[in-house]
């Protein structure tokens, strides 16, 4: 593994970590940013918090594994998302949108979709913490 190119990243809350370049490049944002920065181990700042980044890396790691079957990946995804609470899931969606990883972005959005399909407006307000500013008359449209 020492022959793999490594990248140092720094999260929004000041945490530094090192990642294999190949894995980090699953994020288009990171990939594009590295073209502008010298390879001198100056950490690349990314606008994600460490908690969320750990989850992202966990996902990337599993999906980079060699020889893993579709079924195993599906099971992993199911478990992975099941353990996330709404707030963590939303953090993840925002972070992945920033990181520009299409695969994980779609997967995370689908999870949010599952959570909100079939819910009543009040449940939606609870999930997204929206104020109910709709008056009965304005609903007639």
């Amino acid at each position: 593994m020492s022959s793999e190119k490594l990248l140092t990243l720094k999260t929004r809350d000041g945490e530094e970590f090192v990642l294999e370049e190949a894995m980090a490049f699953r994020s288009l944002t990171i990939k594009n940013a590295t073209s502008n920065y010298t390879i001198n181990n100056t950490p690349l700042p990314i606008n994600v918090e460490i908690n969320t980044m750990i989850k992202v890396i966990e996902y990337w790691k599993k999906h980079s594994e060699r020889g893993i079957s579709e079924d195993e990946l599906m099971n992993f995804d199911k478990k992975f998302f099941k353990l996330l609470h709404n707030s963590e899931l939303f953090d993840l969606v925002v972070a992945v949108d920033y990181l520009a990883d299409k695969g994980l972005s779609n997967a995370a959005c689908e999870q949010v979709l599952d959570k909100i399909t079939g819910k009543t407006p009040q449940e939606i307000r609870d999930i997204f913490n929206i104020n109910n500013d709709c008056t009965p008359t304005s609903l007639g449209g």
Binding site: G14, I54, V93, V112, R125, I130
Partner: protein
């Protein structure tokens, strides 16, 4: 990968259990190796019930406790959610993947969401996602009330359902678009998220998903039974167009062709196909005349139908929706040269142009179906299957399911029926009819229309 951390936690136990206990996953953060599991922290305050994440290098425990949602976390999540700035673009992205039913409900979540969902940009984004997605396909069903079976002004009820190859599922009653009682409209065709209805007096462009509709003007010429219609969206002019080809009855060999471009607000005549005239689908039973499905196949930006030239040769005519230019394509080999009492048709199944023929001989009725795998390439006509039954008069393809089954409308000697290769298509959900809040009749004799359409938010009123 490895994390640079200052703490070293021994595996599976706390180094500093001064206060509390972590009950769940503890992970070590070794100075070198790869992290195998979820990071956890040493709390200095509260009891952690589940995983917590910490930034030990700062030696602070942030108040990011996440509690098991089954115990009053709603407030916790809501508080947490407040701190999240959820960019609009992500909300739009997520909402654009939702079924229309959910979106119509979420319009009342807040004023902002309502304006978001009503925006034309959002409707287009939603449509672009829906049109390529099997999950947004639905059936549009027109059921006639038996008491007015023999009257021209039949009382129609409309329903929609999910598309499943086993039976109708998730059947919902739709309101009559014009609020007429009784509802005197028939479904004429569906296309690109909308459907066209007609009554003796006028036409209606209807979105079955949102129940929005707009009345369209009548063309000048009197309408005959057996007219064929096509409805499609033209990307070049960013407009919907309706093509109407009248029945050849009463017009000889040159029935009028008219096009209605929604933005233009009026019908205009176009030239007939240079090489031949359209053949009619004649109904087998007189009382079915007004219900005969006469939609033109719309695929690859063109309407298609069968025409016959003056040498009695049959082929497929096409009219490009953008430049309104005619074209033609040969039918598959082996479809044309069988018997006299032969009926052809074209349809669109799973986005591909298909041709079929029905014929009868002493042994019974035969139905054959071909699909054109490469649009426009004559050699790509591929036979899908043949059906032979003694009592079969004719069959018409309705749609193809994701598992490959084709739904057909069978015209038997004594009755009509919807079937797939597995057998009769169940029109009634497994639960008893009496359990349904509306009067959905099981017999397919009453189901006069079964069309496939795509859910959409497209607003007919804004198109004209």
């Amino acid at each position: 990968m490895w994390l640079k951390h200052k703490y070293l936690i021994a595996e599976n136990r706390l180094v500093n259990p001064s206060k509390n206990i972590i009950e769940e996953k503890i992970v070590m953060i070794p100075s070198k190796n790869i992290i195998e599991e979820k990071t956890v922290v040493i709390p200095s305050k509260n009891i952690i019930e589940e995983k917590i994440v910490v930034i030990p290098s700062k030696n602070i425990i942030e108040e990011k406790t996440v509690v098991n949602p089954s115990t009053s976390t709603k407030k916790m999540d809501a508080d947490r959610a407040m701190k999240i700035h959820f960019p609009d673009v992500i909300i739009v992205d997520i909402l654009s993947r939702l079924p229309v039913r959910s979106l119509l409900r979420f319009k009342c979540a807040s004023k902002f969401w309502r304006s978001l969902i009503s925006e034309p940009y959002f409707k287009t984004k939603h449509w672009n996602h829906a049109k390529n997605n099997q999950n947004f396909q639905r059936f549009l069903i027109g059921q006639v009330c038996p008491t007015s079976h023999d009257k021209w002004l039949g009382t129609m009820s409309f329903y929609c359902s999910s598309v499943s190859s086993v039976q109708l599922v998730d059947v919902q009653k739709l309101g009559c678009p014009s609020n007429d009682k009784p509802c005197g409209y028939f479904i004429v065709c569906c296309g690109d998220g909308l459907s066209l209805l007609r009554s003796p007096n006028d036409y209606l462009l209807w979105n079955p998903s949102t129940n929005e509709s707009v009345v369209l003007p009548n063309p000048e010429s009197p309408r005959t039974f057996g007219s064929a219609y096509g409805l499609g969206y033209d990307t070049t002019s960013d407009d919907y167009k309706i093509l109407r080809i009248e029945s050849s009855k009463g017009y000889g060999s040159n029935p009028p062709c008219k096009i209605f471009a929604l933005k233009s607000g009026s019908w205009r005549k176009i030239d007939n196909h240079p090489r031949g005239y359209k053949i009619d689908n004649h109904p087998r039973r007189p009382y079915d005349s007004e219900f005969v499905v006469n939609s033109l196949a719309f695929v690859h930006g063109a309407f298609h139908w069968i025409i016959k030239d003056n040498l009695s040769k049959y082929f497929i005519a096409s009219l490009n929706i953008s430049n309104e230019a005619y074209g033609e394509m040969p039918l598959p080999e082996g479809i044309c040269n069988i018997y006299n009492k032969l009926r052809y048709g074209v349809s669109v199944l799973e986005g591909m142009l298909c041709a079929h023929c029905n014929y009868r001989n002493t042994e019974g009725g035969t139905f054959k179906l071909w699909v054109m795998k490469d649009y426009g390439v004559k050699e790509s006509w591929t036979e899908l299957f043949t059906i032979q039954e003694t009592q079969l008069l004719s069959a018409t393809p309705i749609c193809r399911f994701t598992d490959g089954e084709v739904l057909l409308y069978y015209n038997w000697a004594r009755y009509t029926e919807y079937r797939t290769s597995k057998g009769p298509y169940r029109l009634l959900p497994a639960s008893a009819a009496s359990a349904l809040p509306y009067r959905f009749l099981a017999g397919s004799a009453f189901i006069k229309h079964l069309f496939c359409y795509t859910e959409s938010l497209i607003s007919p009123k804004l198109l004209v």
